[in-house]
């Protein structure tokens, strides 16, 4: 009887905790959309040019900057992190050295992003003389992202059953062929969904891009060496520095757009991972 009651109470408690966290998320989304959605969906805002001193400016170039930056960052960090993950999971012997690498990665992952921003400023912007540009931001964010991407990819690779590797090796495949033909295809859906979180982080990162890509642009950036103004950074800029009278609207609309972008990317990455798994006939739960 007593145990039964405790069980019921536990069920209710955990159920409520789950409900509360869901409610918080719902509240944030509703709040942001409530304030900014009307602004966000008007074409003059999401496709328009930003203004410098009168109301009615848009964030078109900023959205492009964010997407461009995210793509560049992934282009830089994905191959590196997958390569390193393959090394860590397949080649490196478990031991002190591997643990040390993991420790370094975890430390890197906990560094505040403003530190990466300052690092990017001194190295890419100043020392390499790239000045404020997308590429400087992309390299900075790639560094920021590397630990998360790498650990995610490593986990996905480690989850590939050992029996696949044995089957492949027993047929005469060497280690590299086994990785290329068996391990990586099986790990890929996990790797793809593992990139979702980092992309969200890239899109939302303000501190690391302020000093590397720039804060305000009027022209859409084309070359990686063009200055840019990712949305998250621009929101910060509009709130604290801008001289336009409707900055509140810009901030709220920008936040709503950012949220929509992150949702869209999250959704399509999952869809793609599922599609890929289906085409490759993998059994994965996503």
């Amino acid at each position: 009887m007593k145990a039964g009651r405790a069980d019921r109470i536990a069920t209710i408690v955990f159920w409520s905790i789950g409900l509360v966290s869901m409610a918080i998320l719902a509240f944030i989304i509703l709040e942001i959309f409530g304030r900014g959605l009307v602004t966000a969906v008007s074409p003059s805002f999401f496709a328009g040019q930003p203004a410098t001193n009168q109301a009615g400016g848009g964030v078109g170039p900023m959205i492009v900057s964010s997407l461009y930056l995210a793509a560049l960052t992934m282009l830089i960090s994905l191959p590196v992190s997958i390569g390193a993950a393959i090394y860590m999971a397949e080649y490196a012997r478990e031991g002190k050295f591997n643990n040390f690498i993991r420790f370094c990665l975890d430390s890197l992952a906990t560094l505040p992003s403003i530190v990466f921003g300052i690092f990017g400023l001194t190295l890419f912007v100043v020392t390499f003389k790239w000045s404020y540009c997308l590429l400087a931001g992309a390299f900075t964010l790639a560094l920021l992202n590397l630990p998360i991407l790498l650990r995610g990819a490593e986990e996905s690779i480690k989850q590939v059953p050992q029996t696949y590797r044995e089957a492949s090796m027993s047929l005469g495949a060497n280690r590299w062929i086994t990785i290329k033909k068996v391990v990586l295809p099986s790990a890929m859906p996990g790797v793809i969904t593992g990139t979702v979180l980092p992309i969200g982080r890239i899109m939302g990162e303000a501190a690391a891009v302020i000093y590397t890509t720039g804060l305000f642009i009027r022209a859409i950036p084309l070359s990686p060496f063009d200055p840019a103004a990712p949305l998250a950074g621009y929101i910060w800029y509009a709130q604290t520095e801008a001289t336009v009278p409707d900055y509140r609207q810009i901030v709220n609309g920008g936040a709503a757009i950012l949220l929509i972008l992150v949702f869209l990317i999250n959704f399509s990455a999952r869809r793609f991972a599922r599609f890929y798994a289906k085409r490759k006939q993998l059994e994965v739960k996503l």
């Binding site: 012997r93 478990e94 059953p161 029996t163 696949y164 590797r165 044995e166 089957a167 492949s168 090796m169 027993s170 047929l171 005469g172 495949a173 060497n174 062929i177 033909k181 068996v182 099986s186 490759k280 006939q281 993998l282 059994e283």
Partner: protein, 289 residues
């Protein structure tokens, strides 16, 4: 090569790049020597732990050799030493020799890839790749450079036929191998091994995860395959060893922490009816293990 004795195979052996001859039906793949593999004083360590000691064994051509013994006595380890799969485990080290067709496979310049092509392996749990049935079997041949579609088709049909699976899957070669039942998956794994045209097939408790009917089918298949291949199987199932094998090796560890040794090796009929060693008799009559 006279036409009467030898018929040309439909699929040329791709690995040598030449049209090769089908094993004549009248004269199935008889090895030059009766002994295919000889284990000479084989010992095996994992780090500092000695898992096997002083293993001496003759594995005969075109026969089934069963390795039996209680859990943890090194049966699987011994089996894996025959295609050097034990090297995948960190810290594994071998002493002594494993001589196949006169060559020590642990010689420094012996090529593992060639060895594993010649000595195929089937595992305890069916482990098809998460690919289509077709791609599962094409995996091996593709490794060795077979790209032509029609040759691959031939190899796949031939391998599936030999593994007695063709009729069940011929209409769904593009389906995922994971949709097959456990017994079918295991036969698929056997077909996958056959696709690279091995000489020896190692099986590590191939029926441990299967139901009695699937087990029966695998046993029938093995009895058929031994006409063309040399088969070594580890099994926990005494009746299975008695039913299908020609030779039996009984492995045991004396005390916890000691290496596994061979207690007795000989013809299966003798081991099961009139063993020399008392411990063998105790084991096969079910008094321990």
């Amino acid at each position: 090569m006279t036409q009467g004795n030898v018929k040309l195979e439909r699929s040329p052996y791709p690995y040598t790049g030449q049209v090769v001859i089908e094993r004549a039906a009248t004269q199935p793949n008889v090895c030059d020597a009766r002994v295919k593999i000889e284990l000479r004083n084989l010992g095996l360590y994992y780090e500092n732990f000695k898992a096997l000691e002083d293993i001496n064994l003759h594995i005969m051509c075109n026969s089934i050799t069963a390795i039996i013994g209680p859990s943890g006595c090194g049966k699987s380890t011994a089996l894996r030493s025959l295609n050097r799969m034990n090297e995948l485990i960190e810290g594994a080290r071998v002493e002594g020799k494993v001589i196949m067709d006169g060559e020590n496979i642990y010689e420094r310049d012996y090529r593992v890839v060639r060895l594993r092509k010649r000595v195929g392996m089937v595992f305890q749990r069916p482990n098809p790749f998460p690919k289509s049935i077709y791609d599962n079997i094409a995996f091996g041949p593709r490794l060795f450079g077979v790209r032509e579609r029609n040759i691959l088709d031939c190899i796949i049909e031939e391998s599936l036929r030999r593994a007695a699976l063709w009729d069940e899957v011929k209409d769904k070669l593009r389906d995922s191998a994971l949709t097959l039942s456990g017994g079918q998956q295991q036969r698929l794994c056997i077909a996958r091994v056959l696709s690279v045209q091995p000489e020896v097939i190692l099986l590590d408790e191939p029926c441990a995860a299967l139901d009695p009917i699937a087990t029966q089918r695998i046993e029938d298949l093995l009895s058929e395959l031994k006409n063309e291949y040399t088969i070594v199987t580890v099994t926990h199932n005494m009746q299975q060893a008695a039913r299908i094998s020609d030779f039996t090796a009984f492995f045991m560890i004396e005390n916890q922490g000691e290496p596994g040794r061979i207690v007795e090796f000989g013809e299966t009929s003798k081991i099961f009816t009139n063993p020399d060693d008392e411990r063998t008799e105790e084991y096969i009559t079910g008094r321990f293990g």
